[in-house]
Subunit: 198 residues, 2 copies
Amino acid sequence: MATKTELRRQELRDNLITIAERTIAKKGLTALRARDLASEAGCAVGAIYNVFGDLTDLVLAVNARTFHRLGADVAEALAEAPQDPVEQLVIMAQAYHRFAADNHLSWRALFDVERAPGEAAPDWYLQEMGQLFTYISDPLAAIFPDRDSHELALLTRALFSSVHGIVLLGLDEASAGVPSDDIDRMIALVLRQIAIVK
Amino acid sequence: MATKTELRRQELRDNLITIAERTIAKKGLTALRARDLASEAGCAVGAIYNVFGDLTDLVLAVNARTFHRLGADVAEALAEAPQDPVEQLVIMAQAYHRFAADNHLSWRALFDVERAPGEAAPDWYLQEMGQLFTYISDPLAAIFPDRDSHELALLTRALFSSVHGIVLLGLDEASAGVPSDDIDRMIALVLRQIAIVK
DNA sequence: AATACTACTGAACTACGTTCAAAGTAGTCA
DNA sequence: TGACTACTTTGAACGTAGTTCAGTAGTATT
């Protein structure tokens, strides 16, 4: 039965996710504190643990939203891209870069959650990842119609990882970050070169 | 004057780095605890703070050693590599992969130290990084003699970042890691393709 | 309305990194 | 050598986290 209690719990859950989302976006994962969260949400600290197993679970819920927004941005970029599959790859990768730059701290939180060792990533994570991979493998299949599916899968993963690496190190201001235009240029360099059919 | 005290401090310093190095290698950065460290080193907790500003400083000292070993491994691979510049790139990248796989937790610690926001990476970090970049840019200059230095610098960074990304996501067992051979294959796929001169 | 069950609360517990007053030690000089 | 001074080391105590759970308040059932 969907009781008053259950509704209240659902409301608190959403509320906590939204507050945590804002905190992470503004101040980063490390600024997330159970007591602050509770006082902002107007509930007791213990209440958080009625609704989430621990703070990591809450962060994962925030990350699900972030990942979803990321996927939507990439999909939108793809929808507006020209037919040329190489350009599609470049545009998607640059959308990934833009998302990471515009949502830096939230994006970092995607990778900075500490997962219990040996624990697999949650299902939604693997699914969103799979969705991103599909966006990439479709243009790749058009570029390389002769390659078998395993090779295409590897190339897909390789390209995603490459773009991720370029963005990750490019945005890392500690090691004297790279100008945004140069990041886009590196992405284009790698992807256009990859797409050359010998 | 290089006194008895100073010697003792130096000894403690080295000792702490070695212990921390072993702990990080075996159990990861998050298992590093001031009290455990002190008891293993046979000193008081406070003594750590006579020798390092805080635990992050100690981790940075460990990372300096790790980074140095990494650089040496890559240099060794390069020394044994054939003359062909493309093969040199592939072999170095695979040495990077092997180091990361064989020293997983120590390698992760290189990137997982939390740096104070706005704080630049320490000098030795930038220098070792620069050394790695040189290893890459030399073969690249041989492959692309016509490109200007800015473009080569971008390509160097792009390739390093790409390989880093492939290894990072490939070794991440949380998202169902990739078999070691496939990581090597992805590296080779990207680097060989990059090196095709149109 | 009385009863039984469930959910919420927040003080208390544990586990950290870090500090600093007190105790110890090294260097100096008569 | 022994007394004095300055520096070094110590570890109990502090502050700040995440998390728990006995007590209380609220909800559903009869």
